[in-house]
Structure formats: structure tokens, C-alpha cells
């Protein structure tokens, strides 16, 4: 029985298929930084030199949010919920250590374990790029570790020489608040429950990037969902189209941060224009059509009964799939080796 009333059931698979069947749900999100997150690998923020817009061909450096730095926190939120509602224990399935291979997280987001095989991820995320250039989207902070008295000079604590100045000082680049990263999350072959599972993960995830800094607050503003029979435009293309649009309407008020309303308006009209150029079959839920869907989803995931129903259904589907396609395969593979 269908959970959602605002979306036609034809966009969903009745069960998780074992082969790609060409149904896609694309979540259109704008990820907005709300504190000072850190996306880095080499002690330096990740960035890419790309064209500013589709029309504006000058090259600029943009901050980039690498794929797995988006999907991993979202996965972890889903796993947290599964454990909270007793559908998974920490012992039977540990992320990147020991995958149980039969729960919604493993089946929807995939896994790879040497001998036991691999499940391809049905969620595909691409690197997201900031709308504004790197120079105006980051700040350098000096970090220090002061003594108990709050100064950098020793008062003779713990055997140190009094008056000695600590060398515990460092510099680190951080991404500023109100930097916007348009990002499309693609879910292949969604069932209604897996669609809601991923939807809920995107809505609930609040922190991305380096966790230990506790500063990575990011809000996901969903502006729509596109159901299609194929892939749609890229994050980079969408970001560049937004940039063009905002430049044309003079809302790129550098060096001030962008206005959220301007970004959302530009993002909606940019994606609508881009979707016209796609030669695939697609149904776009953007604007009013999306409002009723997101309200319904928020009502569902906001109540214990609703979220439990989604998680249980997703879990039952994952178990059915695992029984049918994984355990059998695993024994067959083993038998083949002997």
C-alpha cells in the first residue's frame, strides 16, 4: 500500500530490482553552510578551477565538496535511525568495517567486501561546487592552545619554564557561512520506501566535513525532485547556470554573501531552463508541485509512527532483496570455487 499521496506510484519500483531498470529520482538540493565547515584532504580546502558560468567563460576557483563527503554523513544519519528504532544493532553492521548486507543502508547505498562481493550504490552524488569564488568564500583562522590562564605564555605549569611562549599555534582555512553548493542527489530504481529513506537522510543531515572541528553545520534546502528515465544535468552545469542568472540580475553582490532567496529563485529557474534541453522523459516537481510533496514527507518523518513505517518498509524490502539475490549468490559463488 502506498505511503505517499502526492506522488504517482508509477515513479517507483514495486520491489528493489536486481538489475538497473532505468528509473531515476533526482533530489535537487542547495547545501548552505551555516558555520565554518572544512572540506580538505591535503591540509588545504578542496577547490577546482572551472568556468564561472555557462555564458561567462572566465575561469575562477571554486570550493568543492567531494562526493563521499556528502553521502557519508547522510548514510550515517540513516544508520543512526535504524539503530534507534531497533532495526539494526551496532554489532551486526558496522560502517566500513562489517556490513550486514541485508539492511536499507547496505542495499541502497552499497558496499564492497573482498570475498563476499559488492552491492552497487543506488545513490549517486557528484562533487558540488560553490556558486561564489574561492577567494570570497573562505577565511583563514589562527588556532592556538592556550594555557589554563588563557594566555600563550607559560606561568610555569607542569615543569615548563615561566614566561615561555607556546608554539602551539596553527592556521587553518575554513569555508565561510552562507556559501551555497547546488547538488543533485540521484537515486536509481527507487521504491517508495527507499525514496523516503534517502529523502529523510538528506533532510536530517546537519553536519558535513571534518567532524572533530564541530563547525561543519550545513543545511540542505531541497528545491525539488525530478523523476526521469535517465541522468539529468550535472552539479557543475547547474551551478554555472545559476551564476549566469545571478550575474544577469545583479544579485552577485560581491564581496557580500549571496542572499538565500535570490539563490533559490535563480536555482529554480536555472534548473527549469536546463531541463528543457534534456532529451529524456522526465516529470519535474519544482515549486508548488514540490511544496505538497515536501510537506507530506515532513509530516511523515516528523512523527514516530511515520518514520517507523518508512524504516520498517525499507528494511523489509532490503531483507527480501538480500534473501533473493545475495545469500543465494554468495553460496553459489562459494560452491563454484570448490
Amino acid at each position: 500500500m502506498a505511503i505517499l499521496k502526492t506522488v504517482e506510484s508509477k515513479f517507483f519500483q514495486a520491489e528493489i530490482p536486481y538489475k538497473p531498470m532505468g528509473k531515476y529520482a533526482h533530489f535537487l538540493t542547495i547545501r548552505i553552510t551555516e558555520s565554518y565547515p572544512l572540506f580538505q584532504t591535503d591540509g588545504e580546502l578542496n577547490k577546482a578551477r572551472v568556468r564561472a558560468g555557462v555564458k561567462d567563460k572566465t575561469t575562477i576557483s571554486r570550493l568543492s565538496m567531494f562526493k563521499r563527503k556528502q553521502s557519508t554523513p547522510e548514510r550515517l544519519v540513516g544508520r543512526e535511525l535504524l539503530r534507534n528504532y531497533g532495526l539494526m544493532t551496532a554489532q551486526e553492521c558496522e560502517y566500513n568495517v562489517n556490513f550486514a548486507m541485508d539492511n536499507p543502508d547496505c542495499i541502497i547505498y552499497g558496499f564492497a567486501i573482498g570475498d563476499s562481493g559488492s552491492e552497487k550504490s543506488k545513490v549517486v552524488v557528484d562533487t558540488a561546487f560553490s556558486i561564489t569564488a574561492f577567494d570570497e568564500s573562505h577565511e583563514t583562522f589562527t588556532l592556538n592552545a592556550p594555557f589554563e590562564n588563557g594566555t600563550m605564555a607559560s606561568k610555569g605549569e607542569n615543569g615548563s619554564k615561566a614566561g615561555e611562549v607556546t608554539s602551539r599555534i596553527n592556521q587553518q582555512d575554513h569555508i565561510k557561512p552562507q556559501v551555497f553548493f547546488p547538488s543533485i542527489v540521484t537515486l536509481k530504481d527507487p521504491t517508495e520506501a527507499s525514496f523516503l529513506y534517502v529523502f529523510n537522510n538528506i533532510l536530517r543531515t546537519r553536519h558535513y566535513g571534518a567532524q572533530t572541528t564541530r563547525t561543519g553545520r550545513v543545511r540542505n534546502e531541497l528545491i525539488g525532485v525530478v523523476f526521469a528515465d535517465g541522468e539529468i544535468t550535472s552539479n557543475l552545469h547547474w551551478t554555472q547556470a545559476i551564476y549566469d542568472q545571478m550575474k544577469a540580475s545583479n544579485t552577485l553582490n560581491q564581496p557580500d554573501p549571496l542572499d538565500e532567496d535570490d539563490v533559490i529563485t535563480a536555482a529554480k529557474s536555472a534548473i527549469e531552463t536546463l531541463m528543457v534541453d534534456e532529451f529524456i522523459v522526465h516529470t519535474d516537481l519544482i515549486g508548488d508541485a514540490f511544496t505538497s510533496l515536501i510537506n507530506e514527507v515532513k509530516t511523515l518523518t516528523g512523527s514516530e509512527k511515520g518514520i517507523k513505517e518508512i524504516l520498517q518498509k525499507a528494511d523489509a524490502e532490503a531483507k527480501t532483496y538480500a534473501n533473493k539475490h545475495i545469500s543465494k549468490k554468495k553460496t553459489a559463488a562459494k560452491a563454484g570455487k570448490e
Binding site: 538489475k19 577546482a48 550515517l76 552491492e119 543506488k122 567532524q211 539529468i232 550535472s234 552539479n235 539475490h325
Partner: protein, 239 residues
């Protein structure tokens, strides 16, 4: 009747696959193997292109083992007369990325290494907005996808295709500067000289000169001289 398409790929994300592994450095060469392209273009095991494969070799979300099935997967393309050449970068930049496996504990203790498997490394990737070019030869008109995914991280790339016109089939000595798969060309052509591009599973060759072979001649949109693309290429796996 033959249809030849000049295809261009523009990367919209950084592209990574290991052409070679040098200790902890994983290097992506700006060349995409033609086997990989067939999969990325969706030509393998497809009802649209009539290349479905036997159920036991079909593409599935769950793979019990990591064994390539090139022969089983690409032979149906031969039957349909579809051939894709390897893609070469016509403009590209490389970027270095460090990657690591981390867990979600709040503190990590260093354990003694038990296996010789790196938990971090550096990957040389091809930057977004780099462009690649390749050719597709088909006996029937082909409609290819606009957005495809490539490499280990399934990076999005935009495909633009242009149908080549005024194709002439000729015989003679000729050279072809783009990369080719030697297995696919050497059974039908006498390859005289070439440069090797080292990569698994089949190293590619470029700047190939061929003696007395069949080729398609057509205008090269970028250059004044005509392009001569070897004809009768097929996926071959055994001599």
C-alpha cells in the same frame, strides 16, 4: 552503410581510475580504454542496442565476485556492428587528491599494521572541464545518452556527438594518430609502427601506421587534412 560519429566528452567532475599504481600513488592517464567506454555509454547488455547478454553474465547491482567478463559482454556489440575507439584527451588538467579510509570513532589508536594494504594514498585525477574525443562506428544509426558516468567514482560527463558525412572506404598505407586497441585492429590490418600506452587490461597503441589496409576517409572537423580511421575493427580476445 556505415555510420561514424565523432564523440566529445566533457568532464563535469574529476575523473579517477587507476591506469597504473605506483606504491601509494594512483595515476589516471588522460586516455579512456574502449572497453570502459562501451560500459559507460550503456552499450553493454542493453535492449535498446540489441546487445543483451546471457542471464548469467548480465549486469546486476550485486556482484558476487570481481571478475571482468569482457568477452561475454562485448561480443554482442560485434554482432550489432558497433565499435567504439578509445578516447584521448584533447585538453586536460590533472589534479592530485589525497584519500583515506576513516571510521566514525571520535578517537583513533594506531594499530600495528597487519596487512600490506594502504589506508591512504594519493590519486592523480583528471580535472573537471577536461575534454576527450573518440569515434563510434556503427552499422545502424545510434542514439547515445547525453550524460554518462565514468571511472571509479562514477563522475558525470557530458557527451556531444557529431555524425561524420562523406565517408569513403579506401585501401592503402595510412596513419592514425588517435589511440587504438591493438587486439581489435591487428587481425584485420598489418600494423607497421606504433607507440604503446601502457595500461591494463589491454595496452593501447597510438600514432599507428598501417600497411595496405582498409580505412574510412572523412573530413576531420578540426584539421584541414582528412582523417583515416581503420575499417573492420572488432572486439577480439583470442588469436
Amino acid at each position: 552503410m556505415v555510420f561514424i560519429y565523432r564523440c566529445q566528452l566533457e568532464l563535469h567532475d574529476s575523473l579517477y581510475f587507476a591506469t597504473r599504481e605506483i606504491g601509494r600513488l594512483y595515476e589516471t592517464e588522460p586516455i579512456i580504454h574502449n572497453y570502459a567506454l562501451c560500459y559507460a555509454l550503456g552499450l553493454v547488455d542493453s535492449e535498446i542496442y540489441s546487445t543483451t547478454v546471457a542471464e548469467e553474465y548480465s549486469y546486476r547491482y550485486f556482484c558476487p565476485e570481481q571478475v571482468p567478463k569482457y568477452e561475454e559482454h562485448l561480443t554482442p556489440l560485434n554482432q550489432q556492428g558497433i565499435y567504439v575507439t578509445p578516447a584521448v584527451a584533447i585538453s586536460h588538467y590533472a589534479i592530485l587528491n589525497t584519500w583515506k579510509y576513516a571510521n566514525n570513532n571520535y578517537h583513533v589508536e594506531m594499530e600495528k599494521t597487519q596487512k600490506n594494504i594502504p589506508s591512504f594514498g594519493r590519486a592523480k585525477e583528471i580535472a573537471p572541464e577536461s575534454k576527450f574525443e573518440f569515434f563510434t562506428i556503427s552499422q545502424k544509426p545510434l542514439q547515445l545518452l547525453k550524460w554518462i558516468r565514468l571511472g571509479k567514482w562514477m563522475s558525470k560527463a557530458e557527451l556531444t556527438i557529431q555524425e561524420v558525412t562523406k565517408i569513403e572506404l579506401k585501401t592503402g598505407n595510412f596513419t592514425f594518430s588517435y589511440p587504438l586497441n591493438p587486439l581489435d585492429v591487428m587481425f584485420t590490418h598489418q600494423v607497421v609502427t606504433y607507440d604503446v600506452i601502457n595500461m591494463p587490461p589491454v595496452s593501447l597503441i597510438q600514432n599507428v601506421s598501417i600497411c595496405q589496409g582498409h580505412y574510412y576517409e572523412f573530413n576531420n572537423p578540426n584539421k584541414t587534412e582528412k582523417l583515416r580511421l581503420p575499417a573492420k575493427m572488432q572486439y577480439r580476445f583470442k588469436a
